[in-house]
Symmetry: C2
Subunit: 505 residues, 2 copies
């Protein structure tokens, strides 16, 4: 299977192929919802575990809130938002009854329930009961949950009606502490994206018109996909006292005065898996960074002569034990011995398309010579793609080999990102011409056509209509501002603020 | 806080108090749904991790299926079941719109969606696409998910409208293999209940009238609560070809003939936490078995003199490191240093009510003498309740100490179960008189009033009405049958089958 031309010519179709061939997810009988299959879910579990460690280190505790939110919780928002309308799943009945053999909803609810699109409202309601004094603060919690947004154009991992995510929610005694929390969690997102997902990101602040409704500030990390589009990989919101006021999260402060708490929320979702695919997958299919690979090493016994079988399997089992011994303290190593009764070449391609970082083939010759054939996924098709190495050396160095692969994946993606942020567009005319070009395509790690534009913005949110017209967005106002003088690429007005302009998912 | 009389006189109220005082869960603004707070959710995560290891060992893979199930998937069942009616959450609209400032559901769905009460139907639909040949079998999957059943009398952990669970679903090429799977997973449930939750159970088969609808056989594990009632702690269903036929899971077998697959399903839920509470909690509150305790050891620095603070905290930190070193390979040890600025006695009672297995107090005298004050939760109030021990000895023996506490908790519960299964009731008259008694109460581990009756049943499912009238149920037909002759305790007819009769949750 080569998908080279597909990746270049029809990126969306290539994406679908990668997901299907890696057997990560598929559409289901439930409209717009996906089935996350074991390889895809395994990646999600690895991502979850990395985040859980970080959340614990930063003193957050996991808990679980109801997925049904009473309709009235949205009423206040509706009163304030002009033309309020939300695409959400609404539960209106609590029973199915058979009438003349046909099932119909019955027992209508007094108050309809909304399946959570996000949980600020219902969690704020709990916080209002938990928090009475400054001594009860901060409250630092997180939940892993399913959420629903009624998407009309679903795409596996990127946009489905139901998806999985984590949402952190915190309450603090001061604005400063809440802002520090918001930024700390954005830093955690950047850390995990770059060090576990090997996906470099640009951290920054969203412009006013891209903020989460109700937030004082929304911070985000933005990644660049191979087709030059941006993917918002995580957001962290400083909510000020807005949610605290509407849910009445108030406390008696140290000066014995009543005060509303300062809250934050932050989340990442199964969308990250879409980001990993569009950062690392190649012409042969998926490539998974070692730190989030459900199996980092696949051991494939090559049994040509049935009478060698026991010896080869014993050797493979010994290798497996030896590899595990290299990880006595830290993270466990994840190894799969694939001894299924199938053609070795088929099995090799199956794991290649899934993107397992290291695939080892072990035959009788290896047993005799105490060797092992090592194939690293990211070097597939290159001269280094196949190495026959001493088995003890392989086992002893497994940790640094995995670490090396992880770094190479990050560096490659980082080089691509850096090579493809155009900073030389200085006028609205050039800017318009640039984005009028279509079919942006980036050669891996090389300077090709350019995707993101880093340039000036006047800061006027009324420019939103211009952006919509050009089908681009301001991804973020990066933290590393240059503070130079220039002209706004949308309006031509004088401007000093740097922003990232891009097409996006 | 002593809840001794409460536990004896008003067990349901005692239960609620334990949950509240341990800060494990609470009711929410979403009717009938609970908020699972960090200590309760932490226990659930520990339970999940133990099960996940077992599921992996038995070759199951985790994945995730949509929570919305199209109404039509229930239509077939409705056609076959007389007076079919199900208490389920029905999604009928996909939008909220503001009409004259008031929010109303809009955009009605063409086909209503049901929030999964269980996922056999939608998973069978996926299986029908995955399985073509005997080579595709077995399919062995599991998912951790939230499910909804519209309970009218919700109780925290025991019965809530939304709850968390795992559901395993498998498909096999033969009935024998599927039955073996069903029994293997029941064995896993028994193993985890007894060895991780320290909750002894009776494994057996459900009578026909208690089976899961659509199952050929339902197996279960039944636990005894302190009030003598039974709690169904897990079920494993052999579904034969029933679901395979209705969802068309068919495969070409080795003889090249089309055949329907044989499927199973099995599940445990957050209800297990209710079982742990009613097995182990005592007059002072919750008691958590070490294997599922979010923190197994609480280290409480006792700082009387502020200038000792640094020395004491350094000593505590050293103890924490030393304890961690004892677990280089296996499960991680979970330790909490509680250095909050509160009264030591308050902190001690907080962790006592939460049921942390070991609480250690560390003051300046301990630093000087290289000692530590160890309080084991299950020995609270006894002479052994407080031990001042050598700190090195404590650290070095921590693994066996935790293991010992775990065993003691199991043994105590096991003794209670065994002492309270009455086997001497031989006639319907005595049986009726026995269950007419109310307020059954069991003294821990001692022979008190008796709860379960193990006796004969004629096997006639028409006796269901008699059972209902007496407000009891047949919990299971235990695997260890005596095959003696006797009379049915319900009808007086001759009978050889032993069953467990009990009141239940």
């Amino acid at each position: 299977m080569s998908m080279k031309n597909l990746r270049k010519d029809n990126y969306p179709e290539w994406y679908q192929n990668v997901v299907a061939e890696a057997d990560m997810a598929e559409n289901s009988a439930s409209p717009g919802c996906m089935v996350i299959k074991p390889w895809g879910y395994g990646i999600w579990e690895c991502i979850r575990n990395v985040f859980d460690d970080k959340f614990r280190e930063t003193n957050h505790e996991n808990c679980y809130f109801p997925m049904f939110i009473p309709l009235s919780f949205f009423q206040k928002e509706a009163e304030h938002v002009e033309g309020f309308a939300k695409e959400m799943a609404v539960v209106t009945h609590s029973r199915l009854t058979s009438v003349d053999g046909k099932l119909v909803p019955s027992s209508p609810l007094d108050e309809p329930l909304i399946v959570r699109p996000t949980s600020e409202a219902i969690i704020a309601d709990s916080f209002s009961k938990w928090v009475k004094s400054y001594r009860d603060l901060p409250v630092l919690i997180n939940q892993w949950a399913n959420v629903v947004r009624w998407e009309m154009r679903p795409r596996l991992f990127l946009r489905t009606r139901e998806f999985l995510w984590q949402e952190g929610h915190t309450a603090h005694a001061s604005a400063e502490e809440a802002e520090a929390e918001t930024k700390q969690m954005l830093e955690v997102y950047k850390d995990v994206s770059e060090n576990a997902l090997a996906m470099p990101v640009i951290p920054g602040r969203k412009p006013e018109h891209e903020k989460f409704p109700g937030a004082v500030d929304t911070y985000c990390i933005e990644a660049m996909m191979q087709d030059g589009k941006a993917l918002q990989a995580g957001t962290s919101h400083f909510l000020g006292q807005n949610f605290a006021k509407s849910a009445n999260i108030s406390f008696v402060n140290k000066q014995n005065q009543p005060e509303f708490a300062y809250t934050t929320s932050w989340g990442v979702s199964t969308r990250l898996i879409g980001g990993v695919i569009m950062t690392h997958a190649d012409d042969e299919g998926m490539v998974v960074p070692p730190r989030i690979a459900p199996y980092q090493i696949i051991l494939l016994p090559l049994i040509k002569n049935p009478e060698d079988k026991d010896k080869i399997l014993a050797y493979v089992s010994q290798i497996q034990q030896e590899l595990k011994k290299q990880f006595p303290f830290g993270e466990k190593i994840r190894i799969k011995v694939d001894a299924r009764d199938r053609k070795p070449a088929d099995k090799f391609w199956e794991w290649t398309k899934k993107g397992a970082p290291i695939i080892c083939e072990v035959g009788m010759r290896d047993v005799e010579g105490q060797k092992i054939m090592v194939k690293e996924r990211i070097k597939l098709g290159t001269d280094e793609g196949k190495q026959i190495v001493d088995v003890n050396e392989f086992c002893q160095n497994i940790s640094s080999r995995l670490e090396g692969l992880q770094k190479q994946m990050f560096n490659k993606a980082k080089a691509r990102l850096e090579a493809n942020i155009r900073t030389d567009i200085k006028t609205p005319e050039d800017f318009r011409r640039y984005f009028a070009e279509s079919n942006v395509w980036i050669e891996d790690g090389k300077q090709g056509k350019v995707a993101f534009v880093r340039g000036k913005w006047c800061g006027d949110d009324a420019t939103e209509s211009l952006l919509k017209e050009m089908k681009i967005t301001i991804r973020c106002i990066p933290f590393d501002q240059t503070n130079t003088q220039g002209v706004c690429l949308l309006t031509g007005k004088p401007a000093t603020m740097d922003v990232i302009y891009a097409r996006s998912y």
